[in-house]
Protein backbone atom coordinates (compact mmCIF):
# COMPACT_ATOMS: atom_id res chain seq x y z
CA UNK A 1 0.00 0.00 0.00
CA UNK A 2 1.32 3.43 -0.85
CA UNK A 3 1.33 6.57 1.29
CA UNK A 4 -2.03 7.68 -0.09
CA UNK A 5 -3.64 4.36 0.89
CA UNK A 6 -2.27 4.68 4.44
CA UNK A 7 -3.58 8.26 4.60
CA UNK A 8 -7.02 6.88 3.68
CA UNK A 9 -6.73 4.19 6.37
CA UNK A 10 -5.92 6.91 8.90
CA UNK A 11 -8.92 8.94 7.71
CA UNK A 12 -11.10 5.84 8.20
CA UNK A 13 -9.82 5.42 11.75
CA UNK A 14 -10.61 9.08 12.49
CA UNK A 15 -14.12 8.84 10.96
CA UNK A 16 -14.84 5.58 12.80
CA UNK A 17 -13.68 7.09 16.11
CA UNK A 18 -15.85 10.19 15.67
CA UNK A 19 -18.89 8.04 14.77
CA UNK A 20 -18.31 5.65 17.70
CA UNK A 21 -18.11 8.44 20.27
CA UNK A 22 -20.98 10.39 18.70
CA UNK A 23 -23.01 7.19 19.06
CA UNK A 24 -22.64 7.49 22.83
CA UNK A 25 -24.28 10.94 22.76
CA UNK A 26 -21.22 13.18 23.22
CA UNK A 27 -19.82 15.89 20.93
CA UNK A 28 -16.35 14.79 19.87
CA UNK A 29 -13.74 16.57 17.77
CA UNK A 30 -10.30 15.74 16.51
CA UNK A 31 -7.65 17.57 18.58
CA UNK A 32 -5.11 19.15 16.29
CA UNK A 33 -2.50 20.06 18.88
CA UNK A 34 -0.06 17.34 19.86
CA UNK A 35 0.19 18.14 23.57
CA UNK A 36 1.11 15.31 25.88
CA UNK A 37 -1.89 13.51 27.34
CA UNK A 38 -0.11 11.20 29.75
CA UNK A 39 -1.24 12.94 32.93
CA UNK A 40 -4.88 12.70 31.86
CA UNK A 41 -5.06 9.09 30.71
CA UNK A 42 -5.87 6.34 33.17
CA UNK A 43 -7.47 3.57 31.08
CA UNK A 44 -6.10 1.71 28.08
CA UNK A 45 -7.93 -0.87 25.98
CA UNK A 46 -6.04 -2.79 23.29
CA UNK A 47 -7.42 -5.15 20.67
CA UNK A 48 -5.25 -7.08 18.28
CA UNK A 49 -6.32 -8.18 14.82
CA UNK A 50 -5.04 -10.60 12.22
CA UNK A 51 -5.80 -11.16 8.57
CA UNK A 52 -4.42 -12.20 5.23
CA UNK A 53 -3.66 -8.60 4.20
CA UNK A 54 -2.84 -6.91 7.48
CA UNK A 55 -2.22 -7.53 11.18
CA UNK A 56 -1.82 -5.18 14.09
CA UNK A 57 -3.67 -3.60 17.00
CA UNK A 58 -5.95 -0.73 17.90
CA UNK A 59 -5.41 1.08 21.18
CA UNK A 60 -7.83 3.40 22.98
CA UNK A 61 -6.49 5.46 25.91
CA UNK A 62 -8.99 7.50 27.91
CA UNK A 63 -9.62 9.30 31.17
CA UNK A 64 -12.13 8.09 33.77
CA UNK A 65 -14.20 11.20 33.06
CA UNK A 66 -14.60 10.34 29.40
CA UNK A 67 -15.66 6.79 30.22
CA UNK A 68 -18.23 8.07 32.72
CA UNK A 69 -19.61 10.55 30.19
CA UNK A 70 -20.04 7.88 27.53
CA UNK A 71 -21.18 5.05 29.82
CA UNK A 72 -24.39 3.51 28.43
CA UNK A 73 -27.47 5.05 30.07
CA UNK A 74 -29.44 1.86 30.84
CA UNK A 75 -26.44 0.15 32.42
CA UNK A 76 -25.54 3.31 34.37
CA UNK A 77 -28.60 2.75 36.56
CA UNK A 78 -26.63 -0.02 38.23
CA UNK A 79 -23.68 2.35 38.90
CA UNK A 80 -20.26 2.54 37.26
CA UNK A 81 -17.41 1.42 39.53
CA UNK A 82 -13.76 0.97 38.51
CA UNK A 83 -14.33 -2.51 37.06
CA UNK A 84 -17.37 -1.34 35.11
CA UNK A 85 -15.44 1.62 33.65
CA UNK A 86 -12.60 -0.64 32.58
CA UNK A 87 -15.05 -3.11 31.05
CA UNK A 88 -16.71 -0.22 29.23
CA UNK A 89 -13.34 0.93 27.78
CA UNK A 90 -13.00 -2.56 26.23
CA UNK A 91 -16.56 -2.53 24.91
CA UNK A 92 -16.13 0.98 23.49
CA UNK A 93 -13.01 -0.22 21.67
CA UNK A 94 -15.01 -3.24 20.49
CA UNK A 95 -17.56 -0.85 18.94
CA UNK A 96 -14.74 1.13 17.31
CA UNK A 97 -13.08 -2.02 15.99
CA UNK A 98 -16.39 -3.18 14.51
CA UNK A 99 -16.59 0.00 12.46
CA UNK A 100 -12.93 -0.14 11.40
CA UNK A 101 -13.27 -3.80 10.38
CA UNK A 102 -16.36 -2.98 8.29
CA UNK A 103 -14.69 0.02 6.59
CA UNK A 104 -11.50 -1.88 5.76
CA UNK A 105 -13.56 -4.89 4.61
CA UNK A 106 -15.56 -2.74 2.19
CA UNK A 107 -12.23 -1.63 0.71
CA UNK A 108 -10.86 -5.14 0.29
CA UNK A 109 -8.82 -5.50 3.52
CA UNK A 110 -10.22 -8.33 5.63
CA UNK A 111 -9.25 -8.49 9.31
CA UNK A 112 -10.34 -10.65 12.25
CA UNK A 113 -10.26 -8.87 15.62
CA UNK A 114 -9.36 -10.58 18.88
CA UNK A 115 -10.93 -9.71 22.22
CA UNK A 116 -10.02 -6.54 24.13
CA UNK A 117 -7.48 -6.35 26.94
CA UNK A 118 -7.89 -3.46 29.39
CA UNK A 119 -5.46 -1.83 31.80
CA UNK A 120 -5.89 1.02 34.29
CA UNK A 121 -3.21 3.11 35.94
CA UNK A 122 -2.11 6.67 36.68
CA UNK A 123 -0.56 8.90 34.03
CA UNK A 124 -0.54 6.11 31.46
CA UNK A 125 2.15 6.51 28.81
CA UNK A 126 1.60 4.86 25.44
CA UNK A 127 4.88 3.41 24.21
CA UNK A 128 6.48 3.09 20.81
CA UNK A 129 4.90 1.08 18.02
CA UNK A 130 6.12 -2.27 16.74
CA UNK A 131 9.18 -1.86 14.51
CA UNK A 132 8.29 -1.28 10.83
CA UNK A 133 4.58 -0.94 11.65
CA UNK A 134 2.50 1.85 10.16
CA UNK A 135 1.31 3.76 13.18
CA UNK A 136 -0.32 7.12 13.73
CA UNK A 137 -1.71 8.27 17.06
CA UNK A 138 -4.93 10.24 16.72
CA UNK A 139 -5.95 12.66 19.44
CA UNK A 140 -9.54 13.66 20.12
CA UNK A 141 -11.44 15.60 22.71
CA UNK A 142 -14.88 15.71 24.27
CA UNK A 143 -15.44 19.04 26.07
CA UNK A 144 -11.81 19.25 27.11
CA UNK A 145 -11.47 15.56 27.98
CA UNK A 146 -8.70 14.31 25.69
CA UNK A 147 -8.30 10.74 24.49
CA UNK A 148 -6.05 8.86 22.11
CA UNK A 149 -6.64 6.20 19.46
CA UNK A 150 -3.70 4.44 17.86
CA UNK A 151 -4.01 2.17 14.84
CA UNK A 152 -0.87 0.14 14.31
CA UNK A 153 -0.54 -2.29 11.42
CA UNK A 154 1.85 -4.35 9.35
CA UNK A 155 0.74 -5.11 5.81
CA UNK A 156 1.48 -8.12 3.65
CA UNK A 157 3.17 -7.40 0.32
CA UNK A 158 0.49 -6.98 -2.33
CA UNK A 159 -2.23 -5.73 0.01
CA UNK A 160 -4.42 -3.21 -1.80
CA UNK A 161 -6.94 -0.76 -0.41
CA UNK A 162 -9.61 -0.42 -3.10
CA UNK A 163 -10.78 3.08 -4.07
CA UNK A 164 -14.49 2.23 -4.15
CA UNK A 165 -16.37 0.84 -1.16
CA UNK A 166 -18.07 -2.51 -1.81
CA UNK A 167 -21.15 -2.34 0.42
CA UNK A 168 -21.92 -6.03 -0.15
CA UNK A 169 -19.02 -6.73 2.25
CA UNK A 170 -21.24 -5.84 5.23
CA UNK A 171 -24.86 -6.64 6.11
CA UNK A 172 -25.40 -3.26 7.73
CA UNK A 173 -24.16 -0.76 10.26
CA UNK A 174 -24.47 -0.16 14.00
CA UNK A 175 -28.08 -0.29 15.19
CA UNK A 176 -29.32 -2.41 12.29
CA UNK A 177 -31.56 -5.36 13.14
CA UNK A 178 -31.95 -8.38 10.84
CA UNK A 179 -34.58 -11.00 11.58
CA UNK A 180 -34.46 -14.25 9.60
Amino acid sequence: MDADAWRRVNDMVIECTLATLQGTGVAVTEARESRQLESELSNVAVMGFAGFHMRGAVLLATSDELLMRTFPRPAAEGGADRDALLDWSGELLNHLMGRIKAELGMHGILIEPGTPTTISGVGVRVGAATRNAHCTPHRFQVDGDAFLVRFEALERPGAELSEQADHSRTVGGPGDVLLF
Binding site: D87, G98, K101, T115, G172, P174, V177
Partner: protein
Protein backbone atom coordinates in the same frame (compact mmCIF):
# COMPACT_ATOMS: atom_id res chain seq x y z
CA UNK B 1 -45.12 -16.67 33.89
CA UNK B 2 -42.36 -14.25 32.81
CA UNK B 3 -40.41 -15.08 29.68
CA UNK B 4 -36.79 -16.01 30.35
CA UNK B 5 -33.90 -14.70 28.24
CA UNK B 6 -30.25 -15.82 28.50
CA UNK B 7 -27.74 -13.02 27.78
CA UNK B 8 -24.25 -14.22 26.78
CA UNK B 9 -21.59 -11.52 26.52
CA UNK B 10 -18.05 -11.22 27.88
CA UNK B 11 -18.63 -7.52 28.62
CA UNK B 12 -20.38 -6.94 31.96
CA UNK B 13 -21.54 -3.52 30.74
CA UNK B 14 -23.09 -5.04 27.60
CA UNK B 15 -24.87 -7.70 29.71
CA UNK B 16 -26.09 -5.09 32.18
CA UNK B 17 -27.28 -2.85 29.36
CA UNK B 18 -29.40 -5.65 27.87
CA UNK B 19 -30.58 -6.84 31.31
CA UNK B 20 -31.85 -3.40 32.35
CA UNK B 21 -33.83 -3.07 29.11
CA UNK B 22 -35.30 -6.58 29.29
CA UNK B 23 -36.04 -6.65 33.02
CA UNK B 24 -37.76 -3.26 32.66
CA UNK B 25 -40.10 -4.91 30.16
CA UNK B 26 -40.86 -7.85 32.47
CA UNK B 27 -38.44 -10.46 31.15
CA UNK B 28 -36.40 -12.68 33.48
CA UNK B 29 -32.70 -12.45 32.56
CA UNK B 30 -29.98 -15.06 33.11
CA UNK B 31 -26.44 -13.78 32.43
CA UNK B 32 -23.49 -15.78 31.09
CA UNK B 33 -19.94 -14.35 31.02
CA UNK B 34 -18.56 -16.19 27.97
CA UNK B 35 -19.43 -18.87 25.45
CA UNK B 36 -18.73 -21.86 27.70
CA UNK B 37 -20.71 -20.36 30.56
CA UNK B 38 -23.45 -19.66 28.02
CA UNK B 39 -23.72 -23.33 27.07
CA UNK B 40 -24.00 -24.25 30.78
CA UNK B 41 -26.70 -21.64 31.38
CA UNK B 42 -28.61 -22.90 28.33
CA UNK B 43 -28.48 -26.46 29.72
CA UNK B 44 -29.52 -25.26 33.20
CA UNK B 45 -32.43 -23.18 31.87
CA UNK B 46 -34.40 -25.32 29.40
CA UNK B 47 -37.41 -23.06 30.03
CA UNK B 48 -35.65 -20.03 28.48
CA UNK B 49 -37.29 -18.84 25.26
CA UNK B 50 -34.48 -16.79 23.82
CA UNK B 51 -30.68 -16.46 23.85
CA UNK B 52 -29.01 -13.08 23.17
CA UNK B 53 -25.50 -14.05 22.14
CA UNK B 54 -22.41 -11.95 21.42
CA UNK B 55 -20.14 -13.29 18.66
CA UNK B 56 -16.60 -12.17 19.46
CA UNK B 57 -15.89 -13.77 22.86
CA UNK B 58 -12.99 -15.61 24.50
CA UNK B 59 -13.04 -19.41 25.02
CA UNK B 60 -15.95 -20.02 22.62
CA UNK B 61 -17.32 -17.53 20.15
CA UNK B 62 -21.04 -17.00 19.60
CA UNK B 63 -21.19 -19.03 16.38
CA UNK B 64 -19.57 -21.96 18.22
CA UNK B 65 -22.13 -21.66 21.04
CA UNK B 66 -24.91 -21.69 18.47
CA UNK B 67 -23.42 -24.69 16.64
CA UNK B 68 -22.96 -26.57 19.94
CA UNK B 69 -26.65 -26.04 20.74
CA UNK B 70 -27.58 -28.56 18.07
CA UNK B 71 -29.05 -28.46 14.57
CA UNK B 72 -32.36 -27.04 15.81
CA UNK B 73 -31.70 -25.05 19.02
CA UNK B 74 -34.56 -25.24 21.53
CA UNK B 75 -34.26 -21.51 22.22
CA UNK B 76 -34.34 -18.84 19.54
CA UNK B 77 -30.88 -17.24 19.12
CA UNK B 78 -30.51 -13.51 18.51
CA UNK B 79 -26.89 -12.61 17.81
CA UNK B 80 -25.87 -9.20 19.23
CA UNK B 81 -22.46 -8.10 17.96
CA UNK B 82 -20.33 -5.36 16.39
CA UNK B 83 -19.75 -7.71 13.42
CA UNK B 84 -21.52 -7.19 10.11
CA UNK B 85 -19.53 -9.58 7.94
CA UNK B 86 -21.91 -11.44 5.56
CA UNK B 87 -20.07 -14.77 5.96
CA UNK B 88 -20.61 -14.72 9.74
CA UNK B 89 -24.30 -13.88 9.32
CA UNK B 90 -24.64 -16.78 6.87
CA UNK B 91 -22.95 -19.16 9.33
CA UNK B 92 -25.31 -18.04 12.09
CA UNK B 93 -28.34 -18.54 9.83
CA UNK B 94 -27.07 -21.99 8.82
CA UNK B 95 -26.90 -22.98 12.49
CA UNK B 96 -30.44 -21.76 13.15
CA UNK B 97 -30.07 -18.17 14.44
CA UNK B 98 -33.26 -16.14 14.16
CA UNK B 99 -31.77 -12.67 14.13
CA UNK B 100 -28.69 -10.44 14.10
CA UNK B 101 -28.28 -7.01 15.74
CA UNK B 102 -25.24 -4.83 15.14
CA UNK B 103 -23.96 -3.05 18.30
CA UNK B 104 -24.42 -0.41 19.52
CA UNK B 105 -28.20 -0.75 19.31
CA UNK B 106 -31.16 1.34 20.34
CA UNK B 107 -32.85 -0.25 23.40
CA UNK B 108 -36.31 -0.05 21.82
CA UNK B 109 -35.13 -1.96 18.75
CA UNK B 110 -33.60 -4.69 20.90
CA UNK B 111 -36.85 -4.95 22.83
CA UNK B 112 -38.93 -5.14 19.65
CA UNK B 113 -36.75 -7.94 18.27
CA UNK B 114 -36.83 -9.85 21.59
CA UNK B 115 -40.63 -9.57 21.84
CA UNK B 116 -40.99 -10.86 18.31
CA UNK B 117 -38.64 -13.82 18.78
CA UNK B 118 -39.46 -14.76 22.37
CA UNK B 119 -43.15 -14.99 21.62
Amino acid sequence: MATKVIVIDDSSVARQQAAVVLQGAGFVVVEAVDGRDGLEKIAQNPDANLVLCDVNMPKMNGIEVLAASGPAPKQAFLMVTTEGQPELVQQAKKHGAKGWIIKPYKPELLLAAVRRLAG
